[in-house]
Amino acid sequence: MIAPDDEPTYANLKSNPNQRTPCVLVVDSSGSMSMPTPSNLTRIEELNRGLKAFEEALKSSDVASTRVQVAIVCVGGAAPEADLMMDFTDAHDFEAFDFIAGGFTPLGRGLELALNLVEQQKTAYKSHGVNYTRPWILVISDGEPTDNSGKLVRGTQAWRTIASQCREAELARHCTIYPICVGGADSATLQEISTTPIRLVDQTKFLELFVWLSNSMEAISRSAPGDTVQLPSTSPWEAVKL
């Protein structure tokens, strides 16, 4: 019973029913990522620095920390198959960790995981009445995709299948796939997974890449209906191909 002096309560309101901006990172931590870069750190060490910067940049923004959600798929590294390292986590709860380089590059499987993750998360959002922006899948790789035993998959039926699934998902606007290659990568094969033009990251500029990613996610998470989102420039991290 509400007496005339009673005040409206907020107690039952879901904390943070804000719309979500989901982002999946598909990270190649195969053996080649242990190669040194001109900065004397290895590629994977630079990437780990970048991931930490990603966490800090997201948390420093009120809007990004409440709206952006991050999931991480690891390709290569400890397990022979691709692995879900971190399920979707609100940015303000996200804690960066270190990748360890090693093994092969089962990227096809990693992409499959990412696509499934995105669809599962959308179902979860819908059942909780949470609005969301179009999910991003950011793919970072420095090599050529292989199967679990290290055999190259370029040109195989298996690779063609997953690549076309990725492109179809993009065409159907289920997600945006943003491919990024590191020096030595087979960019032609990687480009097959997306209609977004592949970019080359300067291997000493992972930190700048992840700050750019955080700013981009924030811009998307702020965007209102009718906006065309202007992403920040990629020049702080993009290497010019020779």
């Binding site: 309101l13 879901k14 029913p17 009120d62 969301y132 702020r222 209906p225």
Partner: protein
């Protein structure tokens, strides 16, 4: 009589933390007008699209145009009740509004904005809607208890809810200013007996609606305070206050615009208390669109008040007699009448020779539902 049917209105537009931080002005516009005797209400909220060059202007022009257009139809709504003619009027006013935006010489897309609104009074009315934001309409039930000195109110009965239409993604919705706007124009005819109408933008939705239901813990005390307020300015201040508190900003960092109109003059009651309602909200307007729904949303349940046994027996006997009488006098009088939302296609009517299906013409009899003992 007229005094009791007067609409009491409160509205507030609170800029969201995310817009404050980015220096983006609030681009919502809320326009409200009532007839001189206060019994007829037209209100509209328009939300300008973030990046459209003249979004704020568009929202103002659209909200003002629809309200000014519809307030001229009060006499007709009173005489004829709501019907397809009303839906046609909304459509034609919006066509004129679009033409007016074009005549500025700008691209109409510079004015991108959504629209949610109502035209309502004693004979019923309409909720109209393009894009996001939401509207709810409800009937207040006065609960009579033998020994009570305090009038008890249940606020949420036969609730009609016009949902936001968003497309799949949060940053996509539909505008009155886009090419195929007609496909996204939705409307609900409202039967007589609506006592509460609330219009809101997305940001205010979590406060008013939770789990597909009116959010009583927030709305009931808010409406209680509004009913006790002295004047419109005080009602506005109440809404402004509860949408601006730090606790409110923890819930959302969006702009929050909310208008609540209540058709009751509670000064007639010495004391009143708002008690919980048990009705589940009736969803509508997106029924024919593929969208996941709250599984509870299609039932209406009202639990009877518990009665002592003797009274119950007498009531059952009276009921049996009444049923017999009703059957004889023709059940046709009671078809399709109790505040069922009549989702209507807002496509322009074709005025063709083919007979309309029965559901299209809501019964407009100006009466109240049988078991109510409330003065109207």
């Amino acid at each position: 009589m007229a005094v009791e049917n007067r609409w009491l209105i409160g509205k507030a537009a609170v800029q969201g933390v995310s817009h404050l931080a980015a220096g983006v002005p609030c681009q919502d516009y809320c326009e409200v007008e009532t007839s001189p005797d206060g019994r007829w209400l037209v209100a509209a909220i328009s939300d300008g699209a973030g990046s459209a060059a003249k979004a704020a202007e568009g929202a103002q022009i659209v909200a003002q145009s629809i309200v000014r257009g519809l307030i001229g139809e009060v006499a007709r709504l009173e005489r004829d009740g709501p019907g397809l003619w009303l839906k046609d009027r909304v459509y034609s006013i919006l066509l004129d509004t679009r033409e007016r935006l074009r005549r500025t010489g700008d691209d109409i897309r510079d004015y991108h904005c959504t629209l949610v609104g109502t035209f309502i009074g004693p004979t019923g009315g309409i909720l109209f809607h393009v894009g996001d934001g939401a509207a709810i309409a409800s009937r207040i039930k006065l609960v009579a208890r033998a020994q009570a000195q305090v009038q008890e109110l249940q606020l949420w009965n036969d609730v009609v809810f016009s949902e936001p239409e968003n497309g799949e993604y949060a940053n996509e919705t539909f505008f009155i200013t886009q090419d195929d706007w007609i496909k996204h124009l939705r409307g609900n005819i409202l039967s007589p007996g609506v006592d509460i109408v609330a219009l809101m933008t997305d940001g205010a939705m979590p406060f008013a609606i939770q789990q597909g239901q009116p959010n009583a813990p927030f709305m009931d005390p808010l409406i209680g305070q509004m009913l006790r307020a002295g004047d419109a300015a005080e009602r506005d201040a109440i809404l402004q206050k509860y949408l601006s508190l730090p606790k409110a900003n923890e819930v959302t960092n969006d702009d929050k615009t909310l208008m609540i109109a209540i058709r009751r003059d509670m000064a007639d009651f010495e004391q009143f208390k708002i008690i919980p309602s048990t009705t589940v909200m009736l969803m509508n307007s997106l029924a024919d669109m593929a969208k996941p729904k709250d599984p509870n949303s299609f039932e209406t349940t009202e639990e009877p008040q518990p009665l002592p046994k003797v009274t119950l027996l007498i009531s059952l006997l009276a009921l049996a007699i009444a049923i017999a009488a009703l059957t004889l006098s023709g059940l046709a009088l009671y078809q399709g009448r109790l505040h069922k939302p009549v989702p209507i296609s807002m496509q322009p009517s074709n005025n063709d020779a083919a007979p309309r299906p029965p559901g299209d013409n809501p019964r407009i009899d100006g009466g109240t539902d049988a078991p109510s003992n409330s003065p109207k």
